[in-house]
Amino acid sequence: MSLLKIKDLSIRYGDTAVVDDLGFSISQGESVGLVGESGSGKSQTALAVLGLLPRSASLGGSIRFAGTELVDAPEQTLNQLRARRIGIVFQDPMQALNPYLRIGRQLREILVRHKLAEGADIDARVIDMLTRVGLSDATRQFRAYPHELSGGMRQRVMLASALIAEPDLLIADEPTTALDVTVQAQILALLEDIRDETALLLITHDLGVVAGHCERMVVLESGRVVDAGATTSLFASPGHAHTRVLLNAAPRIDSVNIPPPATGALILGVEAAAVSYKAFGHERLRAVQDVSFSLRCGETVAIVGESGSGKSSFVRAMLGLVPMEAGRAVYAGAPLQGPVERRAKKQRRDLQLVFQDPVSALNPQMRVRKIIGESLLVHEPQLSKSARVARVIEALEQVGLNDSYLRRYPHELSGGQAQRVAIARALVLGPKVLICDEAVAALDGSVRGRVLELLRQVQEDTGLSIIFISHDLAVVRSISHRVLVMYMGRLVELADNASLFSRPRHPYTRALIDAVPVPDPVVAPKKAPLRGEVPSLLNPPSGCAFHPRCEHATDICAMKPPMARDLEGTRVACHRAEEIDLSRRT
């Protein structure tokens, strides 16, 4: 008998149906992936199961959980089920935890409310649960407030609160999307561990996550189920065109189709760059230390690393948005120095930046025509109005849009369109170097694929050089010629695409690669994920910053920071780079 059975479910807001005629079921102990792009109704479905939809939503159809009908069920029935028999983990743990209550108190509440434990037993169970989800010092963290924990730890706490009542079903709504890839691997491993205790409904846009962790998957498109079945068989032979689109759009880190090394002339070089920010008191937060790299014409260099690795600070210093404390940058023979306002016009024209979030990168009060045309106004004031509009249209066409977008405001664009407009703004001046700061991270899979293709096309047509900041190694694999890996503000490895992925020299690079989920249920030999999280930059570990998390660390790693050196064409900063072999052991 199925534990959860959804039949003909529809969710409407006024005249708009966000979910229509949706149905699937989950059996006891089964794990099911609910997959779809943003706006496909995944989260709405989860909220409907929990009875958490806003009042303005009208529900139709049926949701049966262990024989109880949940559609239009009284609040009391739902309260008996929520947290007790259905656990939930949301995307952003900071939002889901009450910032004013200690962690322990929030977990106790569930046990007390459902009378699952009494007296001293309550605290014991909470601490036991926190230990199980991997909080190393649970007795102490029991008393911590949410803000005292890192993102990964908070998500573990969320998981603990979802599991503490030993529910029959766990709903996880994009549980790892807000986390770094290594922490994602840790959380996913945790979900794997509890698989025989509870059924799992895993909502995600990432097919790699589904491939490794779900027996069955359900594919949604615009609020309807378009495909459903066993994960292995759907990956092998997708039944619906949309499933195929999603599968093809998912970049694979084990892809063989990678760009060959670029051979153009050097255009940009940075030597020993350092950036620091003022922290509390007189301390300085060293965001970037001693990072060097160079860029060739027509080359894409990716910069990767977990959050806090200094990727963004590094390029922002190069652009003059934050001061570069030490080191120097040279572009086309001339130094790049001082704040952006004082730089030569040519430099400002040739180096352009595309931001992560297109919505906040476009002025909400300006039409597309103005947004793109503004830089022309600055750099080519002699252009007549019609010539300027012609150039704007040209830029729009370059990114696959047309003149019908000229009069639109940013809120009238979808995420993908807005990012294209942002790219068009960067391209309209004909820059030589385009810096993409997580430019595709906020986009859906299929849109991301098209934007990446667009960048590749522009590069082929114009010989544009690209610096591509990303935390997603699968995307990096597919687009970049060379890769720079950063950890806590330092360069750990710089190598060409082929050698970095086939034979990484630094244990951190290896760990990053291993943490990326592969969208293929057949490739699933999971390795133990990298332990721990990035330490605070205000209190960095001694010696090599990575040593506390490194399985190859020896005494010297804790004492002396490693110097970056060249090793068979790879630049690496690891004491033991020569001795250890990190190539894929298959």
């Binding site: 652009l319 400002r348 024209r349 931001f355 002025n363 503004e374 942002a422």
Partner: protein, 273 residues
């Protein structure tokens, strides 16, 4: 237009328009004027005799025309004072917020200093230093009102400055002036409009207070505040002389407040979408 679909905005807007139109055209309709005294008919209750629809005051002056006149003065004070606060406050706040650093610190300490001035004392000083003058009321109210506006705009500008579209403009080389004008200012409109509609009732109240204390508008000119003051003296025998101007004052204030609330909801909603 969706602006008019908001009930708070449309209802209070219509009432305000009616009151304004009445104040502008009412004195034309009435055969009386605000100056002439009729010692033969003091303190008449509202009556059609002699078209004294709001009655007369102790000097036999027609209260209908005087009330209309009072509304005119009150609204003018409110609008001019808000305009002053709008222009000075927005410019001051936007510059302080955008330039930041020491300039910001210095500018805001100046604002703090002005905040520390006791307002009534400040007005009395002005009255003593200069002659009693209609214009002084505008100056006094404006000088106080723009402080709040400057603080609000500065705060908003500080957060806008960090937004990526401003960074993008800096990167391409858009000048600071143009960034403030084209990127910051348009995004302030929502909050500024809302705040102005909330400053208007404040200015009206302050004007009423000043007039009530005898520091504001001088006879034979009048304002709603001055009329309420006069009405209080006649309260026992002639309640209408108090109730009518007080009622109109309350209605105007409430409408502006509702309008501000409505506009805030309207801009919030657009922001979320």
């Amino acid at each position: 237009m969706s602006l008019l679909r908001n009930r708070a905005i449309s209802v209070s807007g219509v009432i305000l328009l009616v009151i304004t139109a009445f104040a502008l055209f009412g004195p034309w309709i009435s055969p009386n004027d605000y100056l002439s005294t009729h010692f033969d008919r003091p303190l008449l209750p509202p009556t059609t005799v002699g078209a004294h629809v709001f009655g007369t005051d102790d000097l036999g002056r027609d209260l209908f025309v005087r009330t209309m006149l009072g509304i005119r003065v009150t609204l003018m004070v409110a609008i001019v004072a808000s305009f002053v606060s709008l222009v000075i406050g927005v410019a001051y706040g936007a510059i302080a917020g955008f330039v930041g650093g020491r300039v910001d610190a210095a500018m805001m300490r100046f604002v703090d200093t002005l905040y520390a001035l006791p307002f009534i004392f400040f007005v009395i000083l002005l009255m003593v230093a200069f002659e009693r003058n209609f214009l002084l009321i505008f100056v006094a109210i404006g000088a106080v009102n723009w402080l709040d506006m400057a603080r609000i705009v500065r705060g908003q500008t500080l957060s806008l400055r960090e937004r990526e579209f401003v960074e993008a403009a800096r990167l391409t080389g858009v000048s600071t002036g143009r960034i403030i004008l084209r990127h910051i200012a348009p995004n302030l409109i929502g909050i500024v409009v809302v705040y102005v509609t909330l400053t208007i009732p404040q200015a009206i109240l302050v004007e009423s207070l000043l007039s009530f204390l005898g520091l504001g508008v001088q006879e034979p000119q009048t304002s709603l505040g001055a009329l309420v003051d006069a009405g209080v003296n006649q309260m026992e025998g002639a309640a209408w002389a108090l109730l009518i101007p007080a009622g109109l004052l309350a209605a105007t204030l409430m409408c502006f407040n509702f309008l501000g609330d409505g506009l805030r909801d309207f801009f919030d909603a657009r922001h979320v979408n």
